[in-house]
């Protein structure tokens, strides 16, 4: 894509109101998460047992939990964990998926068949079970969590990139590069990968909410992030336990998380319409 078509894509994205509002919300959440250590009103593990659970007030804007911990603080620190898992795991998935797909699509022949057959087989494996197994056996480690999630989410990415590369590598500019003696690696990194970037960005944006959901799901079951650390899934779990008396513990984290999921999905849809107009439904 040249500069002009990027500008067109940006124009289309901004003209899609929902994804524009979604982008603003996500940027706001990311900004808050980044500066949390500077502006968080309390420490995320600080307990005020005398205060206990209290509804939203001037001192605690979103109230406190059963141990008297400030909910706003815990949500801000929780967003750091949720976003970090979401983005880092997506980067892991992206790296493996793009490399695998490019190599398979560019090599063609037997290598391609074998590599894609491996993807087919892995595709059939129910990975939620494996992520749970990993958490159970090797402890509830955050780094391991997003490595594991990222390592299982690359399959679709590999398929998308492969089909892109296959159609690209038949085009003349690749032939020209080959004729000029550019090495295979050079062709892959300079010519093929940059040209697959549109669909890759779209799919990556849609992968982030999926991964955040998986993390929340595990933490909700008690198999992910452990207290005193916090993540949105963990906060929703705590909220669900005590919602009968303390509704705010469920409502606020749920709202923040739902809005994030909405926004990321809207951005993904908007980006798809903007970068890849052929596949949009309308």
């Amino acid at each position: 894509m040249n500069n002009n078509s990027w500008k067109d894509a940006l124009d289309r994205l901004v003209s899609n109101k929902l994804s524009f509002v979604g982008s603003l919300y996500i940027l706001f959440i990311i900004f808050l998460a980044l500066i949390t250590p500077l502006i968080a009103p309390y420490d995320y593990a600080y307990q005020n047992l005398e205060l206990g659970p209290s509804p939203p007030s001037f001192d605690h804007w979103l109230g406190t939990d059963t141990l008297g911990r400030d909910l706003l603080t815990r949500m801000m620190y929780g967003s750091r964990v949720s976003l970090m898992v979401g983005f880092l795991a997506t980067i892991v998935a992206l790296t493996i998926g793009v490399t695998w797909g490019t190599v398979a699509g560019f090599s063609g022949g037997k290598t391609d068949t074998i590599m894609m057959r491996i993807v087919d087989i892995l595709y059939g494996i129910p990975f939620i079970i494996f992520v749970i197994l990993l958490m159970v056996i090797f402890g509830r480690n955050l780094i391991l969590l997003f490595m594991a999630i990222g390592a299982v989410e690359w399959l679709t990415m590999a398929r998308i990139v492969r089909s892109q590369v296959m159609s690209l590598s038949k085009q003349e500019f690749i032939l020209a590069a080959e004729a000029m003696g550019v090495s295979k690696l050079g062709i892959i990194y300079k010519h093929l990968i940059p040209n697959t970037i549109g669909p890759v960005i779209v799919y990556a944006t849609l992968t982030v909410p999926q991964i955040m959901l998986l993390e929340a799901f595990l933490s909700f079951l008690g198999l992910g992030v452990q207290a005193p650390l916090s993540s949105w899934g963990l906060l929703i779990r705590d909220g669900a336990v005590s919602m009968e008396e303390y509704w705010w513990l469920l409502i606020f984290p749920s709202l923040a998380f739902s809005l994030t999921l909405f926004s990321l999905n809207f951005i993904g849809d908007g980006l798809r319409d903007a970068l890849d107009p052929r596949t949009s439904d309308s």
Partner: protein, 305 residues
């Protein structure tokens, strides 16, 4: 068709073997070893474990013994529930989980098909975009939020339905079904709408209308068959999602099904139960994927090659 069945089974078998091998190796490579844990295992269980897994034998022998046990449905004893076998626990939990999954999928199909067909027949009218934007919300709100919120609103504030249980009180099956089924209803609506819109524009539908068939007959007999293919292809992966969703829903509502047993086993490090039910879950998921692929191919000849 026959060669397709063979080919799909040809993929399903290596997948299943990979799953069994990976789970087995993972459980056996747990730090410190799964079977010599800090907490003492009752002697009764230890004897059964030795019997079942030949813990003194090399890993390969244990593996093949376990494999031959699975073939006759024997997953060995439970680690945490003395005197109970994993097979027994699975057979207690499975009917409950199946009932929950069945209600949820029926709810999803009923609501999703109706909304999707309406949307496709009247595209870009309120009948289309109101259900479709609701569907978008349904897809985005995860069960860990939907479940507790439904309990809070309808169980605690309005007191219309019980907040937990499964068949203990009238109406207690309602919220779990809604929680698990909503996202699938939403997907189903979107897939039906997309599939139907594509089919309704095709020549054979125009021919059917030109022949003077009633609109109902055109939609139900001619369009639905092709329009439903994406929905049917989705049912396999949906089954996988429903089983994983049952972990959350059964935990939230205190339902004694396989999903909750699995989460409890994961929590208690009941390694034999985790190993057995992981393999069992995987088998179910692979099986349903296979079935939905084959049904989709049977309905749509173009998918066969």
């Amino acid at each position: 068709m026959f060669s397709l069945i063979l080919r799909r089974i040809g993929i399903a078998i290596p997948v299943l073997l990979t799953v069994i091998t990976l789970t087995f190796l993972m459980v056996h490579s747990a730090p410190g070893g799964p079977f010599d844990e800090e907490r003492a295992v009752s002697p009764e269980v230890l004897i059964k474990l030795n019997e079942k897994y030949n813990l003194d034998q090399p890993l390969s022998v244990q593996y093949f013994d376990y494999l031959s046990g699975i073939l006759v449905g024997d997953f060995g004893p439970s680690f945490r529930y003395p005197g109970r076998s994993v097979t027994e626990l699975i057979s207690i939990g499975l009917p409950v989980t199946f009932e929950l999954a069945l209600y949820s999928i029926l709810f999803a199909l009923a609501v999703g098909l109706l909304a999707g067909i309406l949307g496709a027949l009247k595209p870009n009218t309120p009948l289309d975009y109101i259900p479709m934007s609701t569907a978008m919300i349904g897809i985005c709100i995860p069960s860990i939020i939907l479940g507790p919120s439904l309990i809070l609103i309808f169980g605690i504030w309005l007191e219309w339905v019980p907040v937990s249980g499964w068949g203990y009180m009238p109406g207690d099956k309602l919220l779990p079904t809604l929680t698990l089924g909503t996202a699938y209803a939403a997907y189903c609506a979107r897939l039906t709408r997309g599939g139907m819109l594509e089919i309704l524009n095709q020549d054979f539908i125009r021919t059917a209308r030109a022949k003077g068939l009633s609109e109902t007959r055109v939609v139900i007999v001619h369009a639905l068959r092709g329009g439903l293919t994406p929905v049917i292809a989705f049912l396999g992966p949906a089954m996988a999602g429903l089983l994983a969703g049952s972990f959350v829903v059964e935990t939230i509502f205190g339902i004694p099904g396989l999903g909750r047993f699995y989460v409890e086993a994961a929590f208690n490090r009941d390694y034999t139960m985790i190993l057995g039910s992981s393999i069992f879950f995987s088998f179910l998921i692979i099986f349903f994927n296979l079935i939905s692929d084959l049904v989709a191919a049977a309905l749509n000849p173009r998918l066969r090659d």
